[in-house]
Symmetry: C2
Subunit: 338 residues, 2 copies
């Protein structure tokens, strides 16, 4: 824990798994952090754990405005519009980021309210199937990608200095909690998470349904492969709906791709001489490629965690910095800000 805070005060709206874990990490690093939750029970639990959480949204936002806080929106998507309206009313100058799992729909809500010049989108690629303050934990974000969007900077002719500062602050916050800032435009983010996050959630729900039809014998025999593929079906249905329904268009596209691959495999297996050769070989090659990046860290013999994402040092607001972000995005790389 350091004695001098690195960040401006942080005001977290929503104290579920992600918001709560962020609050714990920031507090553990000596940062000034306070927040809001809609639930009285949630606020009491957080208070019992020593955190500064209130159920008075206007009050919390007025305090954020007074201290010049960075506001982090950490609520499900269906409440984001309401929170943005409250921010417009009670915290008219604070910088805003969020941790919502879709980015274009949030970007659109922010744009509709004319707040883009003080918004930098975020999405930490971390979580568990549990939810709520009780599930929050320190260290949840270590090694995770923390998506940081930069659409506004790519659209305007001249990026305001305050926006560049806000971008730097969000990246610094991600680094503080052990995550790696990955710059991505909202549209590309939504397509990528449809593929690697929302599709796996649809699969987990669907496989749970099909497995369950095998009744008690299937329950008894289900082992690692089934459990691994269905774990996230333990997520609250409302959270899964929020993610998938707000990202329906890209998700339908990758579902069509996935169904086509399955249908081909099904037809090869239904042939006179059943074969899985193509699927097993291509799937294994794809798995090796997908694991190459994320796997390196854990298998490293070094005691220091070594990131397998390429890194670029970027000075937000400096010459050519937005082009640098576009370049690192194309590599799935991370930025270190200075």
């Amino acid at each position: 824990m350091s004695d001098t805070p690195t960040l401006r005060p942080v005001c977290i709206i929503g104290n579920g798994l992600i918001g709560g874990s962020l609050m714990r990490d920031l507090a553990a690093h000596g940062e000034r952090v306070f927040g809001y939750t809609h639930s009285g029970a949630g606020a009491r639990k957080a208070a019992a754990d020593g955190f500064d959480v209130s159920t008075d949204l206007p009050g919390v936002l007025r305090r954020a405005e007074e201290v010049g806080a960075l506001i982090v929106i950490a609520v499900p998507f269906d409440v984001v519009a309401e929170v943005l309206d409250a921010i417009a009313a009670h915290a008219p100058t604070c910088g805003i980021t969020d941790v919502v799992s879709v980015k274009r729909p949030v970007h659109d809500l922010v744009a509709q309210r004319g707040m883009l010049e003080r918004y930098v989108g975020g999405h930490p690629m971390a979580g568990t199937e549990a939810s709520g303050w009780a599930a929050s934990q320190e260290g949840l974000f270590v090694g995770a990608a923390w998506v940081v969007t930069y659409d506004y900077a790519a659209e305007v002719e001249r990026v305001p200095a305050a926006w560049a500062d806000l971008f730097r602050e969000v990246c610094t916050m991600a680094a503080l909690v052990g995550a790696e800032s990955v710059p991505v435009s909202a549209v590309k983010h939504d397509e990528a998470v449809a593929r690697v996050s929302h599709l796996p959630h649809v699969i987990a729900e669907s496989l749970s349904i099909v497995g369950d039809r095998g009744r008690t014998l299937a329950q008894s025999l289900a082992a690692g492969s089934f459990k691994g593929a269905t774990r996230v079906a333990g997520t609250q249905p409302s959270l899964v709906r929020n993610m998938c329904e707000t990202n329906a268009e890209p998700l339908v596209g990758v579902l069509d791709e996935f169904i086509e691959v399955l249908q081909d495999a099904r037809d090869s297996l239904a042939a006179e001489h059943p074969s899985m050769e193509h699927l097993a070989e291509a799937g294994h090659r794809a798995h090796v490629r997908m694991s190459a990046r994320s796997g390196a860290r854990r298998e490293s013999v070094s005691p220091v965690a070594i990131s397998s994402r390429p890194v670029m040092r970027v000075h937000p607001g400096g010459p050519g910095w937005v082009q640098q972000l576009q370049q690192i995005e194309s590599l799935g790389g991370r930025v270190e800000v200075f």
Copy 2:
């Protein structure tokens, strides 16, 4: 470790992940165990670890015959016929079990050779995506279901005492390594594993392919939900093919079910008002049911592992014992033999 062996000597044919782990566990419990591998390098590695493994299959089987060993076939399915022929030639009276992941095709090969009266099928529902002796480990089977087939006993009018003894021995071996014996007929086993094991493997391969199409950005953003659902795509393609191709008929059936569930979800998401309500609610309920059984053990606060599978004590060869097995099968339960 106990000083007096519980089992007759055990002869394991094949020392990959499952055969090797079984050998390690049995040796650790003071049982007499030896085996065969086709690979000189594999035999040397096992020997270096202090195990008695030879590359001379006829020699190993003659030794099994001399000491009255229980033979465990632990090779991929495509080599099983060859191993059975060698057993017929060199170990004409030994009891035989196996750990192959399909049961009716193995049963048919055994039947074709007229060896059913000395065969009890087995399948431990345990494993990792790694393979080979190097991946073998002690404790792999703790808490796992160990399927034990009883088709022969259900078909014959009078079960020979030697067969009942063999059934007891296989269950005792499973219990020794910490597994739970789940009696299942070959056909029901193959249908259930198509649903909860082979389908997850097909999904893992297919999702890896679709994820990989998202290139470096998708690689960078893939987190827990993707990794959990694709882990087993790290399995050797030849092993996945062996499992799925030999169980093609039940697997095609559950693939059709799965594709239908996905297609319905896709259509609901493509509607004017995208909805995942049905899938998310039904999937979550199914997940809760599927986890109820297997989850109890790990979440138990008791220091003693408590199985969530119903148990029945059975005396193989005793009055009505085959009916008892059928009854416990319908519950996905386990047997303790005496």
